[in-house]
Amino acid sequence: MISLQGVGKVYRTKEIETQALENVNINVEKGEFLSVMGPSGCGKSTLLNIIGMLDLPTSGTVLIDDIQTAGMKDRQLAAFRNKMIGFIFQSFHLIQSLNVIDNVEVPLLYRDVSAKERHQLAKDVIEKVGLSHRIHHFPSELSGGQCQRVAIARAIIGNPEIILADEPTGNLDSKMGGEIMEILHKLNKEEGRTIIMVTHNEEQAKQTTRTIRFFDGRQIV
């Protein structure tokens, strides 16, 4: 499903050059739930950004669903991202001016889906994450756990094959974190979605199919 070969990423400023990733080789099978662990600043999020095509690698190749992402034009990348990938961020990153249902609908705005259909699909996924009673609320009116549920609903509404979760429980207490993990496992097991999750939590990592570890931009396990 996902194949990274010799991927490297260097951040350059006028003064300094930082090697964020170095010669990363990863293969992720369809339906896998992979967790990525490592200390802060080791390149976990950079890895996720590269897989999610939010950032470009400095070297190496990235294949998603056997498709080479390098050289894609912005429009192709956007469409590919829209179809293939759903993101869940640690800080939720909901659009504050939109209510729950409008936030969830965002990925479908860039597809040929009628407003009515979009609305129905959004309602369905919101129900799936257990927030049907909050659809007209704004993010500022929700708890952290509820915001993350909205973010999950947004990530899955477009039915993407891959879900990239960057510390999805990092800002939540253990109870809410547990609930979010439950939803992710359900998505993986029942719907067969491929999930790559960055986490600092060993317990959560243990529950996933496989764990890879990073240190100073290098994959160590």
Binding site: N49, G52, L54, D55, D74, R75, L77, A78, A79, R81, N82, K83, F87, F89, H93, L94, I95, Q96, S97, L98, D102, V106, P107, L109, Y110, R111, D112, V113, S114, A115, R118, R154, G158
Partner: protein, 445 residues
């Protein structure tokens, strides 16, 4: 293929989005909209001031197929100078009276020098603007006759003392508009009312007067012959000419006829030590409306250039204002831009999104500007247009129908569009170039 840009759901989305920003920051939004509306209003005032001079409206409904000549320019052979003035009857008739191509040619008093005193038996005398015309005048202009009919050629030739009066003059004299045949006293001469017409706006200056009489009945009327033309002064007089063409495509042919007449006349004038300079007359309505001096060359191109520069400056002010507003709004939305891009919005869609949202803002401002124009034109038309048309007793009234001309409305929309492009394209382009990862984190680069 899915048409993102014009899909119904996206259009609804833009409107919803604009409404949300409006609610989020009402003060900034209102200031931005009002500022833009006022700028558009200002531009529209300039356009409207121009438009009322050019667009056809009653009784000058045929402006688009009319040609005008209101000055005779004469130069002496010694190149000592040039003179310009209205036409004497002889020159006018020789140069314009025999044209074959037009539908009709009319001679009229070029200006209303001073108002006439008018009264009827039992009424208090008052001043009214009086214009001498020929009978064709009422064929060129479509006056709204409330009663009676205009004087005809035989009335004109027989110097019959008849007058067409405006509705307000009729009411002031007789408290009625059914006054055909009633006598009035006009500058101590008796005339009979032959018709009453609806009041004419001073914004139609050629047709405008409050009383129209055959100029053959005026004291300075004199039939001239060539022997009367002894010098430049004697070739001039008080008359101007309006030519009604059958169609605008006849204009070149009419001008050619006029040119031949000038040639013939100049051949006759050789012994008089002066010649007539046609200076491309007769003029169209749009040229006549902006031409400042009768005897100086005037370039429409440089006029439009100057007007264009002025409008551009007026347009740039709100554009800069809107641009900085858009920029600051986008700075606050940088994270949203990142999120949208992460979930499948392309750069081009992002630019389009921002431009569309801004367009809705400018469209609202444009509509407010247009409404301001109409309110101003309707309720304050007297003061609004007075400056340009000060010398008359009548009102510079203009109907809403003229102000709501689709051309003006399209102008407003065009202004909105240009303003929108000026103000939003650079911020939108910059926003679309923001690195997605940085943008999600709220970093604007």
């Amino acid at each position: 293929m899915y048409d993102f840009y014009f899909s119904k759901s996206m259009k609804t989305n833009y409107i919803k989005q604009v409404w949300r920003y409006f609610r989020q920051d009402p003060v900034v939004s209102i200031v931005s909209i009002i500022g833009t509306a006022l700028a558009i209003f200002l531009i529209m005032v300039i356009v409207m001031l121009q438009e009322v001079k050019v667009v056809p409206f009653a009784p000058e409904s045929n402006r688009d197929r009319s040609l005008y000549s209101s000055a005779l320019v004469a130069r002496d052979f010694k190149e000592l100078g040039s003179w310009s003035g209205a036409f004497g009857l002889y020159m006018g008739k020789k140069l314009y009276g025999n044209l074959k191509t037009p539908e009709t040619v009319s001679f009229y008093q070029a200006w209303i020098q001073k108002p006439s005193t008018v009264s009827s038996s039992g009424s208090v005398p008052f001043l009214a603007d009086n214009k001498g015309t020929d009978a064709n005048f009422f064929k060129v202009f479509d006056f709204d006759f409330l009663s009676g009919r205009p004087f005809d050629n035989s009335d004109f030739e027989s110097k019959k003392h008849v007058a067409v009066i405006s509705e307000s003059v009729a009411r002031r004299l007789f408290h009625s508009i059914n006054v055909v045949g009633r006598p009035i006293e006009l500058d101590h001469s008796e005339y009979k009312v032959c018709a009453v017409v609806r009041d004419v706006s001073t914004l139609t200056p050629v047709a405008y007067a409050q009383i129209w009489i055959p100029f053959s009945t005026q004291s300075d009327y004199k039939v001239q012959t060539i022997s009367d033309i002894t010098d430049i002064g004697s070739s001039m007089g008080p008359y101007a000419i309006v030519i009604l063409a059958r169609k605008t495509s006849d204009f070149p042919k009419i001008r050619e006829e006029v040119m031949l007449n000038y040639k013939r006349m100049n051949a006759q004038l050789k012994s008089k030590q002066f010649y007539l300079d046609r200076m491309n007359r007769p003029y169209t309505q749009s040229f006549k409306a902006v031409q400042p001096y009768e005897n100086e060359e005037f370039s429409m191109i440089s006029y439009y250039y100057r007007q264009g520069v002025l409008i551009l400056i007026l347009l740039l002010v709100p554009a800069i204002n809107l641009s900085s507003m858009t920029q600051s709004r986008l700075r606050r939305r940088v994270s949203e831009i990142g999120i949208r891009r992460a979930f499948g919005c392309s750069r081009r869609e992002m630019i389009y999104n921002i431009i569309m949202e801004n367009f809705i803002f400018t469209l609202i401002a444009g509509l407010i500007g247009l409404i301001l124009c109409v309110i101003f034109g309707y309720f304050f038309s007297t003061t609004f247009f007075d400056e340009a048309f000060t010398n008359h007793l009548g009102k510079p009234a203009v109907s809403l129908k003229v102000l709501l001309n689709p051309v003006i409305f399209l102008f407003t929309l065009l202004f909105c569009f240009i303003l929108n492009l000026f103000s939003s394209s650079i911020p939108a382009w910059r926003a679309s170039r923001t690195n997605i990862v940085n943008a999600i984190g709220g970093v604007n680069h």
